[in-house]
C-alpha cells in the first residue's frame, strides 16, 4: 500500500512539471515512424548524415511516447511520464520496504535521496523507462538472493523489454551476471537457475531489431561519455544533484563502516553500480536507487551502534505494525489510478517552449544549410520538418566529424569559415551569447531574426571563406 501511495503521489505531482525536454521532440518523431513500421530507417532528419543508418536501440521506448502523444497529445505524454514516475518511485519504495516491512518510516527516509535524485531523470525520454527497469531489476535481484527462484525467472523477460526500451539494459545484464556468479558460489544448490537467468538475460538482449548491434551504444557511452553535454559531465558535488549523490555515497560508506551487521553480498550490487554512477551525472541516480534498500536494511543498526558507543538512549520506535493485506493494496491501487488519471487531466497540457527558438521558425529556409544549436535539433526536427538539422540530441550519428565541425563553427575556432564554406552552411541558428553569434554580428552578417533566446543569421556566401 505504501509504495503505491507514495508512487502515485509523486506521479500525480509530476503532472505539474513542465514538459519539453530537448530530446522529447525527436523521440516523438522517430516513435511516429516506428508506429508506421519504419524502424532504423536511413536518416532523413538531418542534412549532415542524411541517408546514413540510424540506431534502433530505443525503438520501443520511442513508440510508447509516440503512442501516448497520439492518444492525448501533450496530455498523453504527461500521463505516460506520470505513470512511469509513479512506477519508478513506487518500485524504489517497495524495494526499501522489503528490507524493513514493519518500519515504513525508516524505509521511506532511506529512499528519499533516491527519489530526490531520480527527479533529474523525470524526462519524457526512453531513458526514464530504463530507470524503471533498473529499479525493478534491483527488486528482483535482491529477492532472488533471498531465495526466490521466481524472481530469477522474471529477469530475462525484464531484460528483453529493457533492451528494446533503452540502451541502459547493458548495466542490467552485467549486474545479473555478477549476482549469478556470486549466487552460484554462495548457493551451489541454486547454481543451475542462476546460470539460466544469466544466459537468458544475455540472449534476451539479442532479441531486438539491432540484435548484437544493440550493445554498441552502451559500450560507447560508458567509456567515451561526451563531456560537453551537461548530463554526461563529471558528477559535481557543488551542484544540487551532485550534492544529493554525495549524501547517498557518504551515507552508504558511513553505514557500512558503523553497522554491526556485515553485508559482504551487498558489494556485488553496490560496487559496480557505484563505478558506473561515478562516470557521469546522468548515471548518479542509479547508485541512489541501488543503495536505498541497503540503507533501509542497515541504517538503523548503524545509528543504534553509534548511539550505544556515545551512551545515548535512542527513543524506542513504534512497535512493528502488521503489514496491510491484499485488500488494502487493491484499494490503494484503485485510488492511485484515479489520482493519476485526475492529475493527468489537470496537469500541463502543452510543452514549455520558452527555451526554444519558436519565433525563428518562419524565417528558416527550407532544405539543407542550417547550422543549429545542438540542444534545439530535436525541437527543429519536430517543428520545422522542412528544414533538416545539422546536429541534434541523437549524438552518435554525428560523431564522425559532424560534431567537430559544429564545435568549430559554434566556438569560432581556427578554420570555422572553411567549415562554413565546405559544408555550404547558409543559416546559423544559435544563442546570442554563442561566439559565432557574437562574431557574425561583428562582421555585419545579416540577422534574419533574433530574441533573448536565439539569433538567426544568414551567412553571406561571398564572405564565408573569410579574408
Amino acid at each position: 500500500m505504501v509504495p503505491i501511495a507514495i508512487g502515485a503521489a509523486f506521479g500525480a505531482a509530476s503532472t505539474q512539471l513542465a514538459v519539453g525536454d530537448s530530446d522529447v521532440f525527436w523521440h516523438l518523431v522517430v516513435g511516429r515512424d516506428v508506429l508506421r513500421g519504419l524502424i532504423a530507417v536511413p536518416d532523413a532528419l538531418s542534412w549532415t548524415v542524411a541517408g546514413q543508418p540510424t540506431s534502433s536501440d530505443q525503438w520501443l521506448g520511442q513508440a510508447l511516447w509516440a503512442l501516448a502523444f497520439g492518444a492525448g497529445e501533450w496530455r498523453g505524454v504527461v500521463a505516460l511520464r506520470a505513470l512511469a514516475i509513479a512506477l519508478l518511485v513506487g518500485v524504489v519504495v517497495y524495494a526499501t520496504l522489503r528490507e524493513r516491512p514493519t518500519r515504513p518510516l525508516g524505509a521511506v527516509l532511506a529512499v528519499l535521496p533516491a527519489i530526490a535524485l531520480s527527479r533529474f531523470v523525470w524526462t519524457e525520454r526512453p531513458e526514464l523507462f530504463g530507470f524503471v527497469c533498473f529499479a525493478l531489476l534491483i527488486v528482483l535481484l535482491r529477492a532472488a538472493r533471498s531465495g526466490s527462484d521466481r524472481a530469477l525467472y522474471w529477469i530475462p523477460p525484464l531484460i528483453l523489454v529493457w533492451a528494446n526500451l533503452h540502451g541502459s539494459f547493458a548495466l542490467g545484464v552485467g549486474l545479473t551476471a555478477l549476482v549469478a556468479i556470486e549466487g552460484a558460489i554462495a548457493q551451489p544448490r541454486r547454481r543451475r537457475i542462476y546460470v539460466v537467468a544469466a544466459i537468458g538475460s544475455v540472449i534476451a538482449t539479442l532479441l531486438t531489431p539491432a540484435s548484437v548491434g544493440a550493445w554498441t551504444a552502451p559500450g560507447f557511452h560508458l567509456l567515451h561519455p561526451p563531456r560537453e553535454i551537461q548530463e554526461w559531465s563529471v558528477p559535481d558535488v557543488t551542484t544540487l544533484p551532485g550534492a544529493i549523490f554525495a549524501v547517498v555515497l557518504l551515507s552508504t560508506l558511513l553505514v557500512a563502516l558503523l553497522s554491526r551487521a556485515r553485508a559482504p553480498r551487498e558489494a556485488v550490487l553496490l560496487l559496480p553500480v557505484l563505478a558506473i554512477s561515478l562516470i557521469a551525472t546522468r548515471q548518479m541516480p542509479l547508485f541512489a536507487i541501488a543503495a536505498a534498500p541497503y540503507l533501509a536494511a542497515y541504517g538503523a543498526d548503524a545509528l543504534a551502534h553509534v548511539a550505544s558507543i556515545i551512551g545515548l538512549d535512542l527513543p524506542a520506535l513504534a512497535a512493528p505494525t502488521r503489514p496491510p493485506g491484499r485488500r488494502a493494496d487493491a484499494i490503494a491501487f484503485v485510488i492511485a489510478a484515479v489520482l493519476l488519471a485526475v492529475a493527468a487531466r489537470v496537469g500541463v497540457s502543452s510543452p514549455d517552449l520558452g527555451g526554444f527558438p519558436t519565433a525563428a521558425l518562419p524565417s528558416l529556409r527550407p532544405g539543407p544549410g542550417l547550422l543549429n544549436q545542438y540542444d534545439w535539433g530535436g525541437y527543429l526536427i519536430w517543428a520545422a520538418p522542412a528544414t533538416p538539422v545539422f546536429v541534434d540530441g541523437r549524438l552518435i550519428p554525428y560523431l564522425n566529424g559532424v560534431l567537430d565541425d559544429y564545435t568549430t563553427v559554434l566556438g569560432v575556432h581556427p578554420g570555422w569559415r572553411d567549415v562554413i564554406a565546405r559544408r555550404d552552411i547558409r543559416q546559423i541558428l544559435v544563442r546570442p551569447s554563442d561566439p559565432v553569434a557574437v562574431r557574425a554580428r561583428d562582421l555585419g552578417w545579416p540577422i534574419r531574426a533574433s530574441s533573448d533566446t536565439f539569433v538567426l543569421i544568414d551567412v553571406p556566401n561571398e564572405r564565408a571563406a573569410g579574408p
Partner: protein, 458 residues
C-alpha cells in the same frame, strides 16, 4: 641498523619515491610566479602583500597564504637551480612516501598488501609532485596523520610534534586546515570512545589552532573552506574528479575498495571521522583527492589483506626477510636514489610555454592580455611586461577573471573588455576564439608557433 631494519619498507619506498620524483623536470606554470614572489621577498626583506606582477590588479592587496613556502623554494632554487628544485621535490616526496608506507601497515596489513596499496597511492599522487608550496601540504599530511596514529597507539612524543608542525604548515601553504581537521578527528574519536589520551589530544588541538594564527600572511580557515565549497572550475585541478582519467580512475578504485572493505568488515569510528569528510572533499575537486587516498591507505591495505585470507584461508604467508637483509636492501635503494640525484634535470620542461614569443614581448609595449596558464612563466621570464592574469587566482577573482573569460571566449562584451583595459597585445593559444577573431580583424602577428600566437593591435 636496527632502526633501518625495522623501517626497511618505508625507507625503500622513500628511496623509490625520491628516484621517481627527482627524475623529471619541472613544468608547472605556477612554479615561476612562486619563485618570483619568493625572490621579491628575499630582495625586499618583507612579505609580498600587494600585487607587483600584473597590469590589472597592480598595487592591490592580496594573499595566497604561502610566504614561507615560496621563500624556501626560492632559497633551494638559488642554491641549486632547477636541478636543486628537482632534488628538493624528490626529498619531499620521499618523506611523504616514508610516512605513507608506515601508514599502510597501521591496520596490520602484511607487507605485500601494504606494498600494493601504497604503490597505487603513490602512482596516483604523481600529479601532486609539483614545485609549488602545495607540495608541503602533500608531504605534511601523511606525516601528521602518522603521528596521530602513533599518538593513538600511546606515543605522547608524537603529539608534542604536531603543534610545531601545524605552525610550520600554516606558513608554508594554505592547506594547513586539513592538518587541524585531522587532529580534530582523532580528538573527537578519543572523546567519543573516552580514550585516556583525550586531554593531551585536546591540548594538541587547541595549540595547533592557536599556532596556526601565527602566520603573517594567512588567508585563513574561512578562505580555505570557501575555496573548497566553491572551487573555480575552469582551472583543471579544481575540476571534479573524472574517473575515466588516470588519477580519477585510481581515486575511484580507492573509493570502491573503501566501500568494499567496509561492507565486508565494517570499520571504526575513526575511519568514519577520517574517510567521510575527506571523501566529500575529494569529490569536490581533483586537487583534493590525495587526502582521501592517503587516509584510506591503511584501511584498504588491512581490509584487502583480511579479504584475501578469507578467500584463501590456507595461503602461506610470505616469510619476512631477515632483518639484516632488509636493512641492506633499504640501504642499497637509498644509495641508488642518491646516485640518481646526479641525473636530476638541469632545466625545466618549457615546451608548453610560449618561449618563442619572449623576444617579441620584450620589445612590445602596452597592456598584454595573456593565456591564464602562461602568466607565471611570463612573470618569471619577461618581468618587464605585466601580466593580465596568472595562477595566483585570488587577486583576479572575480572581476578580472570574468573580464578575461569574456574576452578570450568572445562573449558579447569582448570588445568592451579590450577597450576597458586598453589591451595592445594578446598572447594566446592559436585555437582560442579571441585569437581567431583578432587575426580576422587585422591585428598584426608579432610572433607565432604551433602552440602560441602573439598579436598586436594595428
Amino acid at each position: 641498523m636496527n632502526w633501518v631494519a625495522r623501517n626497511a619498507f618505508p625507507i625503500g619506498l622513500a628511496a623509490a619515491g625520491f628516484t621517481l620524483a627527482s627524475g623529471y623536470p619541472t613544468g608547472d606554470p605556477d612554479t615561476y610566479w612562486h619563485l618570483a614572489s619568493g625572490q621579491w621577498m628575499l630582495d625586499h626583506h618583507e612579505i609580498l602583500r600587494t600585487d607587483v606582477f600584473s597590469s590589472t590588479v597592480s598595487g592591490q592587496a592580496y594573499s595566497v597564504g604561502e610566504w614561507l613556502g615560496e621563500i624556501v623554494l626560492t632559497l633551494v632554487f638559488n642554491a641549486g637551480s632547477w636541478a636543486g628544485l628537482a632534488i628538493f621535490r624528490g626529498l619531499l616526496v620521499a618523506i611523504a612516501a616514508f610516512f605513507l608506507a608506515r601508514l599502510s601497515r597501521r591496520g596490520g596489513a602484511p607487507l605485500i598488501a601494504a606494498l600494493l596499496v601504497v604503490v597505487w597511492a603513490l602512482v596516483f599522487s604523481k600529479t601532486r609532485w609539483t614545485d609549488r608550496p602545495a607540495i608541503f601540504t602533500f608531504m605534511l599530511f601523511p606525516v601528521v596523520l602518522d603521528l596521530l596514529y602513533s599518538a593513538r597507539a600511546g606515543s605522547r612524543r608524537a603529539l608534542v610534534a604536531i603543534p610545531p608542525l601545524i605552525l610550520l604548515w600554516a606558513n608554508l601553504h594554505g592547506g594547513y586546515p586539513i592538518g587541524i581537521a585531522l587532529v580534530l578527528a582523532f580528538t573527537v574519536e578519543a572523546l567519543v570512545l573516552r580514550r585516556p589520551n583525550i586531554v593531551p589530544l585536546v591540548l594538541t588541538l587547541v595549540a595547533s589552532i592557536v599556532l596556526s594564527f601565527a602566520d603573517p600572511e594567512t588567508f585563513g580557515v574561512a578562505g580555505a573552506v570557501g575555496h573548497a565549497f566553491a572551487p573555480p572550475r575552469f582551472i583543471s585541478e579544481e575540476a571534479p574528479p573524472d574517473v575515466l582519467e588516470p588519477s580519477g580512475f585510481i581515486f575511484a578504485v580507492f573509493v570502491l575498495a573503501s566501500l568494499g572493505v567496509a561492507l565486508f568488515d565494517g570499520g571504526e569510528i575513526l575511519d568514519a571521522l577520517l574517510l567521510i569528510p575527506l571523501l566529500w572533499l575529494a569529490l569536490s575537486a581533483q586537487r583534493q583527492i590525495a587526502f582521501f587516498v592517503f587516509a584510506a591507505t591503511p584501511f584498504v591495505a588491512a581490509g584487502g589483506a583480511r579479504l584475501y585470507l578469507r578467500l584463501r584461508p590456507h595461503a602461506m604467508p610470505l616469510r619476512p626477510m631477515p632483518p639484516m637483509a632488509a636493512a641492506v636492501l633499504a640501504m642499497l635503494l637509498c644509495a641508488g636514489a642518491l646516485a640518481s640525484a646526479i641525473g636530476a634535470p638541469a632545466a625545466p620542461d618549457e615546451r608548453a610555454y610560449p618561449a618563442g614569443a619572449v623576444a617579441a614581448l620584450r620589445t612590445g609595449s602596452g597592456t598584454l592580455l595573456n593565456e591564464y596558464d602562461w602568466g607565471g612563466y611570463l612573470i618569471y621570464h619577461v618581468p618587464e611586461r605585466k601580466v593580465f592574469v596568472d595562477g595566483r587566482l585570488f587577486p583576479f577573482y572575480p572581476s578580472v577573471l570574468r573580464d578575461y573569460r569574456d574576452a578570450v571566449e568572445l562573449r558579447p562584451d569582448w570588445k568592451d573588455v579590450l577597450a576597458k583595459y586598453d589591451v595592445r597585445e594578446v598572447l594566446l593559444m592559436p585555437s582560442k576564439t579571441l585569437a581567431v577573431a583578432l587575426r580576422e580583424d587585422g591585428w598584426t602577428v608579432r610572433a607565432q608557433g604551433p602552440s602560441f600566437i602573439l598579436l598586436a593591435k594595428p
